[in-house]
Subunit: 356 residues, 2 copies
């Protein structure tokens, strides 16, 4: 068992005292870094980068060499599970992810397997093992998966969507089929995250990127219900240490009270949600992660510092906050601006963590 | 003064008793109707259709010939004001609206005029007059405008945007300039809506399509503040009759309490917001308009009927609800499905309007 040199990310998720607010950034291993673009080019394609554990490890570690992040996050794609289910993931320039064999019929759903992660997703599990080893206990490693609902949207639409017409059509017209599919996905996601935990992930995050496209009732029934099912199946203690869990629904600000009851240790907040109000609404049940607007990173460093301070001020005193963006960093951000964000969190946040 | 044959839309907005819930539909004059597509083709372009009062009148009236809608809405574009300010609106196939001269500098903002609607927007005012005349008092006519913030996003970005990087950049780095621009827009929007009211609009709606892209604090300062300013400048009594006002912020579900204090008679709700909870949150201050997911109109008529009933059930008894979608109808919806929605509202809603 490796003890962590820096465990404030884990402690903050568990609401244990820390001396400053931890910070990491969604998509911190990504296109805004020239060294990432170089490895991406060498790999030949995004998918080749994801499926090669050595390269995935390399790009996972890159941002930690530049910035004082308090956590690493596995570099991978959110659509690895549907790919392992046989849907044939591929990427087209400018159009994002696509599936060769989208799910449309009862027969399609019936034949969906629950993939064994050590077989069909072995490249991810291997990447986790390798990253964990290379981190040498410096900071914790976050594993992740797309949520059942979010995976289902891509699987039924065959890729990205604006209106979500096919997946909502299935949900409205054949809710029973939709539930069968989501149940298989919940089992698959739980097995996938458990394999990441077994391989060394020290915290896990569920990305529900498209839960916010549902109405309140359908969100509870078709998205949050399966996030709960995933949570219930997770093995979140390893060698006596807790593996904290984070649930992030983009556009989920209306439903924080329900999300806080889903069993996760922390909720990710998008930037629209006021973190002061969010903290009051979840009533101490969960930690909060977020939530600066990714677009604020285009601004001058002085402005970025102001925006960071404003979020730290709104969260206020005490543990239970992990600083992050409200969504992934945009690909054309100047890395110096990320430094301004991280430095401000480190320099300014200690005032909110003084013992009385 | 014409008295309306059907005024339940106006009454519901003012929370006066009605015998059924009124219904209309955002973008009810639009591409899902074959007769619209025919006129659009004759016109040669979308802009020519908007700027020709006879054609705009014709397409405004088309949906009323098919469906029992309780209101007509002016057919126009939300970007008429920036065009009248000299920004040079044009449309490209598949990419949406663009401006030849986007606003980027202090000098650009300084030279923005507040257009006189009877001059630069005469074609809209003429269309309102013509539609009002042709409606012959059957149902009320709704006038509308984009909100100052939403207009500003297009003006600074030069068109549609995913990240809103330029307009947020201006807002973060030069908030004073942004306020000058929004103040001019608020004056322009108020003058424009007042001209529509003077020409015969019997209710007006402010479309804040992109307010939901802001964080809570910035929403209040840069979007809602100017919606309030517009409202304060509106002349909402004509010949002793109230002209009700509706404020719609897509993605604004988190901020309903603040929106309810902005002086509008009603709030438009997107489909994510639960209308039962929304009614409780606004505490009787405003009527509510909405909020079926536009995607539900792809479903079978029986399912559409269920979804409509569920929304009527959630709003519950009493006046103060105008049935609508939570956003505009999508262009490939079968008109028969719209009929299923409208018929269900008419047939099912009277149970919620029985006097005790």
């Amino acid at each position: 068992m490796t003890s962590l040199k820096n465990d404030i990310f884990i402690k903050a998720l568990l609401k244990q005292p820390v001396d400053r607010t931890p910070v990491w950034m969604m998509r911190q291993a990504g296109r805004y870094l020239p060294e990432y673009r170089q490895v991406r080019e060498q790999a030949g394609s995004f998918l080749k980068l994801c499926t090669n554990p050595e390269l995935a490890c390399e790009v996972t570690l890159q941002p930690l060499r530049r910035f004082d992040f308090d956590a690493a996050i596995l570099f991978s794609d959110i659509l690895t599970i549907p790919d392992a289910m046989g849907l044939g993931l591929y990427f087209t320039e400018g159009e994002g992810p696509k599936f060769k064999y989208p799910v449309r019929t009862a027969a399609d759903i019936d034949k969906l397997p629950v993939p064994d992660p050590e077989v069909g997703l072995r490249y991810v599990v291997d990447a986790v093992r390798l990253i964990r080893k290379n981190l040498q206990g410096s900071v914790p490693l976050i594993g992740f998966s797309g949520s059942p609902w979010t995976l289902a949207t891509y699987m039924v639409e065959g890729g990205s969507s604006k209106s979500f017409q096919n997946v909502k059509g299935l949900m409205y017209e054949q809710p029973g089929l939709m539930h069968i599919m989501l149940d298989k996905l919940a089992q698959s996601v739980a097995a996938y995250l458990n394999a990441q935990i077994a391989a060394g992930a020290q915290a896990v995050m569920l990305f529900d990127t498209w839960g916010g496209m549902l109405n309140s009732e359908d969100y509870l029934e078709f998205s949050l219900h399966y996030a709960k099912q995933v949570r219930a199946l997770l093995k979140t203690e390893v060698d006596g240490l807790r593996v904290p869990t984070i649930l992030f629904t983009k556009g989920g600000g209306l439903w924080l009270e329900s999300m806080a009851d889903a069993g996760y240790d922390a909720l990710g907040l998008d930037w629209q949600t006021d973190i002061r109000q969010a903290r009051a609404r979840v009533g101490g049940k969960v930690a909060l992660q977020g939530n600066m607007d990714p677009v604020a990173l285009y601004a001058k460093p002085e402005i970025i510092a102001e925006k960071v301070k404003s979020i730290l001020d709104k969260y206020g005193a005490g543990s239970g906050h992990v600083f992050n963006l409200g969504h992934g960093i945009l690909p054309d951000i100047n890395p110096e601006h990320v430094k301004a964000m991280v430095d401000t969190v480190r320099q300014y946040s200690p005032i909110y963590h003084q013992s009385i």
